[in-house]
Symmetry: C2
Subunit: 238 residues, 2 copies
């Protein structure tokens, strides 16, 4: 473990600017002094003097922390430590156009892992109203226009994340959607397993969580098949 | 969907500084002009003139993009668009000390979802060498000192993510570790299900992916039980 951590740290230090150093120092300071959300921060000028750098550099570093939602400016009270929005920063760099191919594939697999693992939370938290809404979405599955099918696909799976009752998970999947859309659009044909959305709703109504997981595996089967195929090809060409 | 997107956008505009506006404009510009990784960016001064703002504000906005790994400065070539490190930004705000309780709980659940969903990737990618390493880690499970058990727990589950062959997933779990450590440490006793790490290795050797998933569910049972219990309590007090 420690080896792995070390390589991560070393990676982060490369191509350092003054703003990088000041940002790091401020993070260390906030941690060392056990700042809590709501606590007021020292003024920009005080920080610049203590660090022996210009106010511009301090402003640059503070601006980064503000972007991450770690600090907020309050009228009369000045800057305070805020509750950061942990997914906000992530969202800013999630653009399929600038993410490399391997990472896109990784994220696509992450979706498969999440949807198979979701069954337990769904069975703990699903309500009759949820099932009704899901049934309504699934009814429209039969329409064949490709653009509609992708939208419907997103609505159905998005509703499943909503039922999980986990806001972080729901927001996470919501911001991964452009990635899935990009991967799906780059495939030659729209593929779905033998188990349809309507079948999945039936299982949620009458079956147990194991039945649902099997159903979801069957529903996502074309994607898993593709992974297995790629894996075999990789081994053969090694 | 469009309704939800709208509310996200509106949320982002609140408490706007000049750096926020310039950052947004630069993002829109990069997208509109279809910048690709490696493409050179206009100079700071040119950007400031085009936007009608000071160089300091442009520098602040560029500094944010640099922090997210979206742009890099190259000697002689100036700034270029880079491949962003999608998890780097996320990592910066993941500190259990400043994350609120609900989000901590969400992230803990996310781990449960991932570990149950991981079985399919594991069975596609595991090698004999992986199993050997896992077996070695599991052998030490019997030692009872609490600090050692937590380290061993992390080593075992970390190795599973490594076997998944998904770098994004592995890094993701690696940066979630402080959160898990925090949640586990806040529990009164170290709890583990009837299925041990050694049992899980045996299943990986001889059983199929369904056996493994059942084993993992049993291994994580105390955590799932706690979720069900909380859920029931919530409903009763509603």
């Amino acid at each position: 473990m420690s080896k792995y951590d070390l390589s991560q740290d070393l990676k982060r230090i490369t191509s350092t600017t003054m703003a990088d150093i000041v940002e790091l120092r401020l993070r260390e300071y906030l941690k060392k002094k056990s700042f809590k959300p709501g606590d007021p921060l020292p003024k920009e000028l005080e920080l610049a003097e203590a660090l022996g750098v210009s106010r511009n550099v301090v402003r640059e570093a503070l601006s980064r922390l503000r972007m991450l939602g770690m600090i907020e400016s309050k009228k009369k009270r000045g800057m305070i430590l805020a509750r950061p929005d942990i997914l906000g920063a992530f969202e800013r760099v999630l653009d399929p156009l600038i993410i490399d191919k391997d990472t896109l594939q990784d994220i696509f697999e992450l979706r498969l892992v999440l949807e198979i693992g979701l069954a337990d939370l769904l069975y703990i938290r699903k309500t009759d109203k949820d099932i009704e809404e899901l049934e309504h979405i699934a009814k429209n599955e039969v329409r064949t226009e490709s653009s509609f099918r992708i939208k419907n696909e997103i609505a159905f799976h998005g509703k499943l994340y909503e039922i999980s009752g986990n806001d972080t998970l729901k927001r996470f999947q919501n911001m991964l959607l452009p990635i899935f859309g990009y991967v799906v659009a780059s495939e030659k044909e729209f593929r779905s397993g033998k188990v349809t959305h309507s079948d999945l709703v039936e299982i949620l109504k009458k079956g147990n969580k194991e039945d649902f997981r099997q159903g979801m595996l069957e529903h996502l089967k074309p994607h898993f098949d593709k992974l297995e195929k790629t894996e075999t090809t990789d081994t053969l060409t090694d």
